[in-house]
Each structure stands twice: as C-alpha cells, then as structure tokens.
C-alpha cells in the first residue's frame, strides 16, 4: 500500500482528477438536458411514453459497445467518453424528474392555477420544489452509474482510474487493479454522500426548525 502510493501517488491523483472530471462533466450535461425535458414531458404527456422508451433503449446498449460507437463520431479521448456517459446518465434523471413532477398532488397544481399562477410560475414555485427530492434521487443514481462506468472510458483513451484497472488486468498486477478500483468505490461513496447532503438541502421545509 505504502509502496504503491510511493510509486504511483502522483499518477493516482491525476487519474482521480480525470475520472472525476469526466464523470462530473457527463453528469452536469445529463442534468441540464434531462431535467428540463422531464419537466416539459409533464406538459406533453402524449409523447412522454415515447421519449421514455427511447431513453430506456439507450440505457440497454452495453457500455463497451456505446463507448466503441462513439469513436467513429468523436475519435478517442475524453470527449467521446463524456458523450457516452452523458447518454447513460439521462434515463435515471429523466425518469425521476418526470415521475416526481407527475406525482405532485393534482389538488396543489389545481389550486396554484386557480389562484392565478402562470404555467411557468406553477412549475418553478410549486411543482419543482415538491418534486425536488425525487429529482435529486435520480441525479444521485446517475452519479453512481457514471462514476462506475467512467472506469471503462480508459478503453477509448479518456484516462481516469480505469487506466490502472486495465493495466493491472493486462499485467496481472493485483495492486494496480485494486489501486484503480478502490478509489472508484471511494469516489462514488463520497459523491453520493455529498449529493445526499444536497438532496436534503433542496428538499423543501415543511416544518419550522
């Protein structure tokens, strides 16, 4: 362990940073695309099922295949990896946003509309705050997926902790395999914990502190 850190400490930091960067970027894209679409779908229910079906289908493409598919379009490196992971992050966020919004008590939306809130005001002031915990749960789930699958991104030259794991597999070096996978697990746990904090923060208060 000590020797591993002595030998690879610098690299470990770099790879962890790459890993985090790829994951965070994909997740960020996933959030800014999937949340608005999920919200819009509640205003266009007839097409909601179709959109959801497409997102589910994307989710079923094997991760390796999706990454490989990126190469003809984006070459190799971080960008194709980010695009592929972004596609993976979409479904959980999209589904939770849509369901969370759809599950807001209709009486509340009716009351909001009846009092004279515009559609937009109803979304911003009522529906999104009420759906926030569910949306956040979707984002947390996506974050965990993305961090785990980002390890595969090394396969198309995106770097990240996957480099250790693949090297270890090629060289039959357990220390490299563990040195790559343990940080991935720790990273996933920390990010999940942080997003959990964020989830609590965005969950609207319904009682006095």
């Amino acid at each position: 362990m000590i020797t591993f850190l002595q030998n690879y400490g610098g690299q470990l930091l770099l790879k962890t940073w790459q890993h985090l960067y790829i994951s965070a970027f994909s997740l960020f894209l996933g959030v800014i695309v999937a949340v608005p679409i999920g919200i819009l779908l509640t205003r266009a229910k007839p097409i909601a099922n179709t959109v959801m079906a497409i997102a589910s289908m994307l989710q079923t493409i094997p991760a390796m295949a999706l990454l490989a598919l990126m190469i003809p379009f984006f070459g190799i490196g971080a960008i194709p990896a980010i695009v592929a992971l972004f596609i993976y992050s979409l479904l959980p966020i999209l589904r939770n946003t849509y369901l969370g919004m759809k599950d807001v008590e209709p009486a509340l939306i009716d009351a909001a509309k009846g009092m004279g809130l515009t559609n937009w005001q109803s979304i911003i002031k009522v529906e999104v705050p009420m759906a926030a915990p569910v949306i956040m749960a979707g984002i947390r789930l996506s974050a965990t997926y993305v961090i785990a699958w980002a390890a595969l991104a090394s396969y198309i030259g995106a770097g990240g902790l996957g480099d250790f794991i693949f090297n270890g597999l090629n060289l039959y070096r357990t220390d490299l395999i563990l040195g790559g996978s343990i940080p991935v697990i720790i990273l996933a746990l920390i990010v999940d914990w942080l997003l959990g904090k964020l989830e609590a923060a965005v969950t609207p208060k319904t009682t006095q502190s």
Binding site: G114, G116, Q121, P204
Partner: protein, 397 residues
C-alpha cells in the same frame, strides 16, 4: 349585475354533457350555493367562472365584462378559489401562502406583511402562526387559512368547491360561520358548491338545485323549503328537514280548525247558553254580523251574570288574544304556548274570525320539529291523537 351566466353549455371531450343551458344572475354580496347529487355539474359550472374550464357555448360576464375577453391568469387573480383538499402549499409558510396572490400582483413587502397579519386576525389565529408551515396546523386551521388566502388580494368573488367536506362537524360549523360572516360583514360574493343541504340552507341567500347538468330550482332557503319544485328537490331536502322546517314555513291558517263556534253580541244569554250546551263547549267567540271578531264569553261569565245581564254583548271579554292566519307558526307558537291558552282565535287581515288553533295542534308541530317523526307510529297512539281529538269531541269553547 355582478355575475351573469347565460345559456352555458359544457360538453366534455368524449361527449359527456355536464352542463346544459345554465342561466343565472348573481348580485354582489350574494351567497349562492350549488347543490345536487354527485355528477350533476356543480364543479363544472363553477370552474367555468374562473376559466379553469372553458364552456362549449354561452357567456359569463363579470361586472358586465365577458370573461372570455379577460386574460385567464388575470381573471383568476381577482377571484378567490378554495377547494376541498385545502390546497395550501406545504413548502410555504402560512405567511407565504396567504400572500401568494399579492406576491404575484407585486405588492410591496410591507403591504403583504400587513395583509398577512390582518388575515390571520380575521380567522382568530395567533400571529406567530404566520411563520409556521401548513403541516403544523390542524385541518380546520389549515382550511381557515385557505379561506382567507382567497380574500387576501381583495378578491370580491370567491369560488368554493365543497371546501369543508373533509372536516369534522364542529370544525365545519365554525368555518361555515366564518364564511357567512365574511359575506355579511365584508360584502364578498360567494359561489359555493356543496352536497350538504344543511350547509346550503345555513349559508345561502339563494340555492341553485342541479341535477344532470340542469337547474331544477333557484330560490331562497325559505322558498326551497316552502315550495320544493318537485320530488327530486323534496328528496334532496329530506323528509326530516321538511318536518323540522314546518314551523318556519307553515302559517297559522294552514293548521287552524275552520268554522269555529261563534255567536253575536245581540244574542241573549239564554241562547248563548243553549249553543254551548248543544255544541258541548264551555266558551263562545263573539263576532259582529260581518264576522269581525269582537270578544269571547265563557260559561262562568254566563253563570255569574245570568240575572243581571241580558245580551252577550253586555258581558263578553273584549280584550282577547288572537293571531293572524297569515303569520308563521314559528313566530306565534311561543307566545301561544306561554299564555297557556287552549284555543286561540284566528283572524284574517280584515279582523274577521276565520278559525281557531288548538293547543293540541301546536303540540304536534313542536313535537315533530324537535323529534322528527321516525317514531310517529308509537308516539301518535299515546300522545298525538288523544289530544288531537279533544277539541273536536268535547271542546272548551
């Protein structure tokens, strides 16, 4: 006219006709209840008023202005709206809930704070509740907030759809008092959907009875009780309530015995005494030739004065208690019962004697009103008929 609905029709997509040729005019300050069985179109009609639904045809005018020409969001901000499920925003404090519409209307923070305090005072809740969240209030308190929230932006018209249906009876009654008070004191106009006839009778200035998308009857609570338009309305009111309402809608003339036994002032005491004997009564009402009630003589007066007086007019009591045939039982029963009189003469508007009411008849009415008539069968054998028959057989006139 404050609110006018003309030839309103609503057919839902799929062909369900929910409202058919609905016509109604509502004046400012009225409290109008829509009542009817479930599915009769009450909610549909109400929701067309704030454009939560659009009518298939017909027009609605608010203050003379066709509401289809008003921006729906603007329209809704000037109409209060309260629904059964309360609809308070759980993630907003009571203050923010109350000032929701004022905030949309961009009131200043000071004005909103002031209004929030005013409103919480109106419903008699402590001011520090303003910083609580809805979940920290009881259901009744929440709906109080729901009611004043609908008034916070000075809305003149408030729509309420079965707002108190989910509350326990005591809380419900307190809230009914609150809205009635707001209507009477602040001059707000209410359109109120209910399926509870007691609620409608208590609150309304006018009741609109609906069935299958049609208006069956529009009338005051008294009018509905007095003249239910048909059997449907009668059933909606219920037999018990009709009986209970009897004293307030029945006139003395409807329950009096006609053809009372009477004599005239010119008759001799001998003739009067014979009449009492023949009819087996102990007193006679006295009228003039035109039938105008003049007084009464009792058998004891005849007995005492038989040798000194000659005619009925000499000894009759002129100062007697009587009631108008057009007056309501409700308004007279107490006076009659308090005096302990057995029979009371009834006169028409020209003071002509037209009948008598017996104490026994009143007892029946009071009994029914207080106890209903579920147990009429047993009770009537013991009490009712026994007394009912008394004046007819023996009488004491």
């Amino acid at each position: 006219m404050f609110l006018t609905m003309e030839h309103l029709n609503k057919t839902y997509p799929g062909g369900k006709v929910a409202v058919e040729d609905f016509n109604l005019e509502i004046e400012k300050g009225e409290f109008v209840c829509f009542i009817g069985t479930s599915g009769s179109g009450k909610t549909t009609t109400m929701r067309m008023i704030n454009r939560m639904l659009s009518q298939t045809s017909g027009t609605i005018k608010l203050n003379g202005e066709d509401i289809s020409q008003i921006d729906p969001v603007k329209l809704r901000r000037q109409i209060g709206y309260v629904i059964q499920n309360i609809g308070l925003m759980p993630h907003m404090t009571i203050r923010d809930n109350i000032t929701l519409v004022p905030r949309l209307l961009k009131w200043s923070q000071d004005k909103m704070n002031e209004r929030a305090k005013e409103m919480i005072k109106l419903v008699e809740l402590p001011e520090d509740y303003l910083d609580r969240y809805p979940s920290q209030l009881s259901g009744g308190q929440q709906q109080r907030i729901g009611v004043v929230r609908a008034l916070a932006a000075n809305q003149d018209l408030v729509l309420m759809d079965e707002p108190f249906g989910a509350l326990d009876p005591i809380t419900r009654e307190a809230l009914q008092d609150l809205v009635k008070d707001l209507q009477e004191r602040l001059g707000k106009t209410f359109v109120f959907v209910t399926h509870d006839m007691d609620e409608a009778l208590k609150l309304s200035t006018r009741i609109v009875v609906m069935d299958g998308g049609d208006i069956i009857q529009v009338d005051t609570p008294d009018g509905i009780l007095r003249h239910p338009a048909n059997e449907f309305v009668e059933n909606l009111i219920g037999k018990d309530r009709l009986i209970q309402a009897r004293p307030s809608i029945t006139t003395v003339g409807q329950v009096m015995l006609k053809n009372p036994i009477a004599t005239t002032p010119g008759k001799s005491l001998t003739v009067a005494l014979r009449q009492m004997h023949d009819k087996r009564v102990d007193s006679l009402l006295v009228t003039d030739e035109a039938g105008i009630l003049k007084g009464v003589i009792g058998i004891e007066d005849v007995d005492y004065n038989f040798n000194s007086a000659t005619s009925v007019g000499d000894i009759m009591k002129r100062d007697i208690f009587y009631v108008q045939s057009s007056s309501l039982i409700r308004d007279t029963v107490e006076r009659i019962l308090k005096r302990g009189l057995k029979n009371i003469p009834v006169v028409d508007e020209n003071h002509r004697l037209v009948g008598i009411v017996t104490r026994a008849t009143l007892v029946d009415i009071v009994y029914d009103a207080l106890w209903g008539d579920e147990d009429e069968d047993e009770a009537s054998n013991n009490i009712h008929h026994g007394e009912d028959d008394a004046p007819a057989e023996g009488g004491e006139q």
